[in-house]
């Protein structure tokens, strides 16, 4: 089995920062904060839980459930790519395909601004399920795919590995790392907002701080997909 050579087509792109491992990991954290402070991803539910039970442990329990659902949604999207990316000779195509998928998801969300009705059928007590479905429905996991693939690409920031098994475990390891770091950032930022609203800012902040991010969110997907595409081509 031939060891994987550095991809001759791979070239530094955008900037040294964006292609460095540190830069990509920072984007993972930043996207986590972005998802965390977006009320649509659930921090108001943690405030509500704490107010209903009158104790902050309820806030933590709600955050844990929301985080678990979000983590599963991230892994649900990233792991298939981790497996697929073992096909080294198709990595470029996979990156292009993945980027196009992310752009398509963004375009779909720009055009179709309706919220999926099935989300309103989820029981308020099933926060983890809700968090999972809401992340899936809004392509929260997809947003990470181009960043993730950037971290996995041979000759990129990651090390060169030879055997597919090693490559697979490397890819899965990165996927776990991306999902956990992203979710941790999401829960910490969302949790900070929720706690501040619960203890200091008060409930008025819920409506005051809630901006319609639908378009920004969809454009974020297109942007991330575009950068991924640009990097892959």
């Amino acid at each position: 089995m031939n060891p994987i050579k550095r991809d001759p087509l791979w070239r530094p792109n955008l900037s040294d920062f964006m292609t460095s491992a540190a830069g990509l990991w920072l984007v993972v954290v930043a996207s986590g904060i972005y998802h965390g402070i977006n009320p649509g991803m659930g921090w108001p539910l943690a405030v509500s839980a704490a107010l209903f039970e009158g104790q902050r442990t309820a806030l933590l329990r709600a955050l844990a459930a929301l985080g678990f659902g979000h983590l599963l949604a991230m892994l649900g999207i990233l792991l298939p790519f981790a497996v697929m990316f073992v096909l080294v000779e198709y990595q470029r195509e996979i990156r292009i395909g993945a980027s196009c998928l992310v752009i398509a998801a963004g375009l779909y969300l720009v055009i179709n601004r309706r919220h999926p009705r099935f989300l309103s059928r989820v029981k308020p007590s099933r926060l983890a399920l809700w968090s999972f479905l809401v992340a899936m429905a809004h392509g929260a996991g997809l947003m990470l795919v181009p960043i993730y693939l950037g971290l996995c690409v041979p000759g990129g920031p990651g090390p060169d590995y030879g055997a597919p098994v090693q490559l697979m475990s490397f890819n899965i390891g990165i996927a776990l790392g991306v999902a956990v770091l992203h979710t941790a950032a999401m829960i910490l930022s969302g949790g900070a907002v929720a706690y501040a609203v619960y203890r200091i800012l008060g409930l008025k902040f819920v409506s005051q701080s809630w901006f319609n991010l639908d378009v920004v969110w969809a454009l974020s997907l297109i942007l991330v997909g575009g950068i991924g595409l640009w990097a892959a081509l």
Partner: protein, 466 residues
């Protein structure tokens, strides 16, 4: 869709109470003989205004015979539920069903003084898409706008039970029936819910042949009107429990849950107890195990009257029943207002302890026997009926018509439309405002009132008052 949530969406009832007071009210006008189109009146309720108590604008419909009754907003504070993601709707449209025609109007009131018809849903579409008829109560819920109906299919609305259907909250397309499992529910009237606790409560008035051409005394005396309340798994769309209030408790109408979603209780008004002519309020509540119970907590005794003062329907009883036809709960869950339409009284109960309500205030106006005049000296026909409370709980508005054909049985002859306001005193007590008496166009009657920016029977809240 907007960038920020509508400023009239409030996270909790407490925040809604602190919001600026309403300056306009929307009141439904109906033509009881169906000779003129029904309409929506925009009423000045700003005491500082020169036109206080006057109709500033009316929207008249292009049809006759709709019979307007209840109505509601396209969006309310429930839009702030983080579960549904509809925070960027506008409270902009009033959804007005005709309970006689089954036609539904969507009125754009973004500029209230230029309010206009935005969309009309013809009856055939309601029948075809839902199998229901005679749409009634409107609430904004998890999957869109929920509309209760009083009739099933067929000419007289008895082909299948009535129920609730859902409309899209943006396009106003009818999506379809709500119920997946209705259990024993076979009549319908009002419904409301506790959104975060995920349950709904519905009530029963009667089937269309029992009300459209007037009350059917034989059916009432044989206890054939509705007397059950139904509890639903809201998002599961299943009837999980039915409580029979007792067949003598005829016509369980308005459902008023506590506004603060932490509280798991509410009230339902019963028009008349056929064993003793009492009016009654039941308190219902949810136990920790998810089961529900209900107990009668208020009774209002009939008042003796001479047969000659009574309409033929009541003459044989020698007494006038309270006829509890509407109830409404203030946003702080402190005061329950009870319309005694027959006796001409508006009662205010302190329900701080929901199991032990105390009469805190009372106003007499109109009534079958008493016919009390308004403090302005004007006559007040019929009795206090549809009641609406301002968000801050300081003003209580009401109108006087119950339902065209029933008005004529209990109050024969044309008595005229009215809308009045009473001011609530600190700690309880009510006083009518002598300067507020809305005059409606000739030949019309007045029914439900909605207040600008929300009131005490529209908005559902998703966060506790703290």
């Amino acid at each position: 869709m907007t960038i920020r949530p509508d400023p009239t969406f409030y996270a909790s009832p407490k925040i809604a109470m602190e919001a600026p007071a309403e300056t306009l009210a929307f009141t439904l006008m109906l033509s009881p003989d169906f000779s003129q189109p029904d309409g929506l009146a925009v009423v000045d309720v700003d005491p500082k205004s020169k036109t206080y108590g006057q109709i500033l604008h009316s929207v008249m419909m292009p049809n006759t015979g709709d019979e307007f009754h209840h109505f509601g907003w396209n969006a309310c504070s429930s839009a702030l539920s983080p579960l549904t993601g509809h925070a960027f709707l506008e409270r902009r449209y009033l959804i007005i069903p005709g309970i006689r025609s089954s036609r539904i109007y969507v009125i754009d009131v973004k500029e209230p003084l230029k309010a206009k018809i935005h969309k009309i849903i013809e009856p055939e579409e309601v029948f075809e898409k839902t199998g229901y008829s005679r749409p009634h109560t409107i609430h904004c819920g998890p999957e869109g706008i929920y509309v209760s109906t009083l009739g099933g299919g067929g000419e007289d609305g008895t082909d299948g039970p009535p129920g609730i259907f859902i409309m899209d909250c943006q396009t106003f397309e009818i999506i379809g029936r709500y119920e997946i499992e209705r259990g024993v529910q076979d009549k319908h009237y009002d419904f409301w819910w506790n959104l975060p606790r995920d349950y709904m409560v519905s009530s029963e008035w009667a089937l269309p042949p029992q009300f459209e051409n007037g009350i059917v005394p034989e059916d009432l005396l044989s206890n054939k009107y509705g007397h059950k309340i139904h509890f639903w798994d809201l998002r599961g769309r299943k009837n999980i429990q039915t409580i029979d209030l007792g067949e003598n408790h005829q016509m369980a109408l308005e459902i008023r849950p506590a506004h603060d979603p932490v509280k798991q209780y509410g009230f339902v008004g019963v028009v008349v107890d056929t064993t003793n002519l009492e009016g009654a309020i039941f308190t219902w509540w949810r136990n920790d195990d998810g089961t529900f119970e209900a107990k009668k907590t208020i009774t209002i005794a009939p008042q003796p009257a001479d047969a000659e003062d009574l309409p033929p329907l009541l003459a044989g009883f020698g007494a006038v029943p309270a006829l509890v036809t509407d109830i409404d709960l203030s946003l702080d869950d402190k005061f329950l207002y009870v319309s005694c339409w027959g006796q001409g009284e508006m009662h205010q109960y302190d329900v701080s302890d929901p199991m032990n309500p105390k009469l805190a205030g009372k106003v007499e106006i109109g009534g079958i026997v008493k016919k009390t005049k308004h403090p302005s000296g004007k006559d007040f026909g019929y009795g206090p009926q549809m009641v609406e409370i301002s968000r801050d709980g300081k003003r209580v508005f009401w109108t006087n018509s119950l339902y065209s054909t029933w008005d004529d049985q209990f109050y024969p002859g044309e008595r005229g439309a009215a809308m009045v306001v009473a001011h609530v005193q600190e700690g309880g007590g009510l006083e009518l405002d002598p300067d507020f008496y809305v005059e409606f166009p000739k030949g019309y009657r007045s029914h439900q009132i909605r207040l600008e920016g929300g009131d005490c029977s529209t908005d559902s809240f998703c966060y506790p008052s703290v």
